[in-house]
Symmetry: C2
């Protein structure tokens, strides 16, 4: 199967798939004409990657998760640790954004937003 069809099936742009091959996350074979040939296992991996990336895991996390996925002797604790760490990072990010949002919303609501130059937002930024 060519890259275009594979891309449609797994929901990733061809460019992204080529990139994943470049960094050795997938290693599709090649046809005689040089075109990449995706097998079912390749597609499965790509779907795994698409899902993991959609959950916000970094490429390097994905690499490790994929390795664990293919390792029958893995311990679920390893997987859970990665996911929990990621969850903690997400919580941090949410907390940071909420704090931002609070300040920003306050400033926006204090600003008249009309044709006059007076602006509490700029006042805040300017100190």
């Amino acid at each position: 199967m060519n890259i275009g069809e594979a891309a449609k099936l797994v929901g990733l742009p061809p460019k992204t798939i080529r990139y994943y091959e470049e960094i050795a996350l997938v290693t599709p074979g090649r046809d005689a004409n040089g075109y990449r040939a995706f097998s079912e296992p390749d597609l499965h991996k790509l779907r795994f990657l698409a899902r993991a990336r959609a959950l916000g895991f970094s490429i390097e996390d994905c690499r490790v998760l994929l390795a664990l996925y293919e390792d029958d002797t893995r311990e679920s604790a390893q997987v859970r640790a990665i996911a929990q760490e990621h969850l903690a990072r997400i919580d941090e990010k949410i907390a940071g954004l909420k704090a931002l949002r609070g300040t920003l919303a306050h400033l926006v609501s204090a600003c008249a937003g009309d044709d006059r130059p007076d602006c509490p937002i700029l006042d805040d930024l300017g100190g």
Copy 2:
């Protein structure tokens, strides 16, 4: 004033300040020896930038906000529009992260995290 002292006063790394000069957000003068010479207005701009960046505004937003800050004829509506747009982006980001967080937390709690290979997280990723 040299860059090191300026950096301490405004709370930005020297590298960042040099970068801001490179992209023309600030234009400090130069001493005879080639060292950057920061004036009070320069410091004020840098503090403005530091604060705006801390609120998550992009560099390009900062550029516009700074211009508005220095424009007596501005209309606060222009500033408010930028801030409100930024606020909307932040809300989107928070919503996205919360959705992620929900799925992820669910998976993590479903995973035993012991020495056995069975793992709902990988099961989910693998489809």
